[in-house]
């Protein structure tokens, strides 16, 4: 059986076209089937699983899949941290082209020398490993990379000095109000293979037709900048802020937050059930509002870039599990968007508790327990505190229900009604905690004057909303 990992998301349609052109008709793939495991017409020897793109190199490296298709950028992102993973880029499928750019905010300046002179260069990216590689190659004297869950271009200038982002071309970078510094990589969708599978397994019935349809040329390398020569001098940056900054989420949390804000008597223009602009108008003097991915909020609050944020308790706990001394805390439980974060296994496992599951797996001689989760810090904390002994935490970006049992023994997963678990023949065996939407802030935040008044007003309003929601 040849196991193939295919991408969900934007690449789905062009990749489906390429596959059909090669005589590989993956049932329901191009049509956007919600099923994670798909059959290939007339090919019983192929098993296809759909993943979020960035999970595919991990699955190929682990040897769970023989072949995969994903943007080369995600392969390079993984190889930036783990250069010796057994992944072989086989051929360029010529679809899904873009480039990865390092770019700076207009205030930071448009040259590497400019940002190198900052006291600390803040780099936001959903390619944190490549951003780290870029910073190191440029020999930035002091920098920090903020790993974000997309929309990194929205961070400068207030919340980052530079970004590493995907864009069609330099004009697209400039359209975000950013100044291109360096093009790191030309990326497109590639067929990739596990090195061991290439060495030992007959894969030619898939590789040959895709090779025939591929673009000629060698594998693009990550192009790194020349080192910036520094004499250690730093530019002075004064950042006196006289407004309260609030972060609110996009994505599935948005509708819960719109409801909570409404209960609190707050209305932000450009942020409702139907619209979401990056910087909504607050209508309150001294209050700036920005839409940020909920996963990224705890770190931004910890850094003092936002005074208050509305996110999920899951995101807060994930941050605190990774960084226990972080100064972020929950301020108000808004009692919306509730779900359980649970340890989940296959229904077929003869165990109803984590202890029984561990005993069963050990009895089966499993050397290591594979734990898959979008919440790596939480999964790692859970595995340690539940004494899983030898374990591997596999980061996943989504489509998580399909991982167990083939690709992981245990899933740390959110469950609202249990319906999705049931559909995927999974069951929860341990409850980690109940997550809800909440407002977060810094412990002992030292606000004073008008900022304190705005902050207190917001907090009181959100507390009323939390109480109102709890009373329903």
């Amino acid at each position: 059986m040849i196991k193939i990992a295919l991408p969900a998301g934007d690449l789905r349609s062009p990749v489906a076209d390429v596959l059909i052109g090669c005589g590989l008709h993956v049932e329901g793939y191009g049509e956007g089937s919600r099923s994670y495991r798909l059959a290939v017409r007339g090919r019983d020897d192929l098993a296809v699983r759909v993943f979020r793109e960035r999970d595919i190199p991990i699955q190929i490296a682990l040897g769970n899949y023989d072949l995969g298709i994903c943007s080369l950028s995600w392969v390079k992102e993984m190889q930036a941290l783990f250069p010796d993973q057994p992944i072989v880029p086989v051929c360029d499928l010529g679809v899904g082209a873009f480039a990865l750019y390092a770019a700076s905010s207009t205030t930071a300046g448009g040259r590497l020398q400019d940002i190198a002179g900052l006291p600390t260069v803040r780099i936001a990216s959903d390619y944190p490993n490549l951003a780290e590689t870029f910073a190191m190659a440029a020999r930035l004297p002091r920098y920090r990379v903020q790993s974000v869950w997309g929309a990194a271009e929205a961070y400068p200038p207030e919340d980052a000095d530079a970004v590493v982002i995907a864009a069609a071309n330099e004009a697209a970078v400039r359209a975000h109000g950013l100044l291109p510094l360096h093009c790191l990589l030309r990326s497109s969708a590639w067929l990739i293979a596990n090195a061991e599978s290439l060495r030992r397994k007959q894969l030619s019935s898939v590789i040959a037709p895709l090779m025939a349809a591929s673009q000629p040329g060698s594998t693009p390398h990550v192009l790194l900048p020349a080192p910036v020569q520094s004499n250690g001098a730093r530019r002075e940056v004064t950042a006196e802020r006289n407004v309260v900054r609030m972060a609110i989420p996009d994505g599935h949390q948005q509708r819960h937050v719109v409801g909570a804000l409404s209960d609190a008597g707050l209305q932000f223009s450009g942020y409702d059930d139907a619209t979401c602009v990056r910087r909504p108008g607050s209508g309150i003097d001294g209050l700036d509002v920005k839409v940020v991915r909920p996963h990224d909020m705890p770190q931004l609050v910890a850094l003092g870039q936002f005074d208050i944020a509305i996110t999920g308790r899951d995101c807060l706990f994930e941050h605190l599990h990774r960084f226990p001394s972080s100064p972020v805390q929950e301020l108000v439980d808004l009692q919306r968007g509730q779900y359980n974060l649970s340890a989940v296994v296959t229904e077929d496992l003869p165990a109803d508790t984590i202890e029984d599951a561990l005993a069963y797996w050990r009895g089966q001689g499993k050397a290591s327990i594979r734990v898959a989760s979008e919440f790596m810090g939480t999964a790692d904390y859970y595995a340690r505190s539940r004494h899983l002994w030898r374990y591997q935490v596999m980061p996943i970006a989504g489509a998580s229900e399909g991982f167990v049992p083939e690709d992981a023994e245990l899933l740390i997963e959110g469950t609202e009604t249990g319906k999705t678990l049931k559909e995927n023949r999974l069951k929860p065996i341990d409850l980690l905690y109940r997550s809800t939407t909440c407002a977060i802030g810094r412990k002992a935040a030292a606000l004073d004057g008008p900022r304190k008044a705005v902050f207190d007003h917001l907090l009181a309003a959100l507390q009323r909303a939390g109480e109102a929601s709890g009373a329903v």
Binding site: D84, R139, P141, Y143, V145, Q229, R322, F323, S325
Partner: protein, 407 residues
Amino acid sequence: MSDSMRPPGMRDWLPAEMARFRRIEHAFRDVCLGWGYDEVRTPTIEHLHLFTSAGTLSPQMLGRVYSFLDWDGWTGERVVLRPDSTIPVARLYAENETPGAVRKLFYVQNVLRFAQGDESREDWQCGVELIGDTQPMGDIELVLIAGEAVQRLGLDATVKLSAPGILRAVLSRAGYDLPEQLALYDRILEGELSVLDEVAGRISGAGASVRSLLSMEGDGVAYLDNLLSALGSAVPGIERAVADLRAVSETLAEVGRKHTIAPLLVRNFEYYTGPVFHFYVDGVKVGGGGRYDALLGLVGGTDVPASGFALEMEVIASVIGDSVEQGTAVLIRPEAGERAAMAAAFSLASELRSAGLTFRIAGKAESGGGPEIVASAAGFTLRLNGSAPKHLARPADVVSALSDAGL
């Protein structure tokens, strides 16, 4: 996954190996203290940014550091397991000493860098840093200290001197920019000497001898003079590097320290600015160091001239034999089945320690070939090699008997 519980590249030091480790450490410390150096130790974890500026670690070394976000790393700034000791000692100096003050420091500590497969990822080093304006005496002093430390271990170290400024000047004169220079530097040090022909072709008047002259090892001042006469007019930038090297070489020759000059020697450390020295035992490199006059300014201090070296303890441990000096350990065995015997055995142990004697309390299955004492509630039975057993009432009597026996 490996079957061992030990991660790849990490090693256990077994008793015989630890004995060698301590011998090296003691020899090194004695020599350093004798030359008026003070011992320091730097943290295992440092900020990554200490090592990222150009002029600190090379990109190759940076690519091997163990860096991670600490438990309080929510700022996104990484920390690193110490990949090098010179840079942390430079930081220690910048943060704790009066700028410009001459400080003579030494350390014994480990460095951690990723390596492929089972190649070592943790290396123990004993090193010296001489910070302050001492050039060229400091460089000479360091070569002599390293030589003495190795000699104390019964080894004879050969010394090779170099100056990265020579190759840098040649590459710069050939018109390469900094990234190209670094790439070429690596290729040359990897043994791709044909690169030097390409480089020579770009320098007008360099002649055909560039490759031969740079890749050979020469004898002291004579070779340096030849190098300067052949290349000095085409690459005037080498004059300073050659002069620095000449000053060191001349004095070393006068004090009888044999050495050779090898222009292509340095790798992976961008911070060396002046003479560099490597030490070899039977052709195996056991350590190296050099001058790093620009480093202090890059780690938060003001520029202060400095130089240092480190000896690789694991490599040295592999070339020194086990020590032949083995003290005779007395075996103390409690009388089997007698509870009070344990107290007697430990009372005797205390007495022997007070007297500075070495012993082992025997395990159940342990037998010794040397002196043996059976402890019981009734006293002690001493068996010396080839003598009849002797009954002694008190621990002090045992000490006297052992002393009489010359132990």
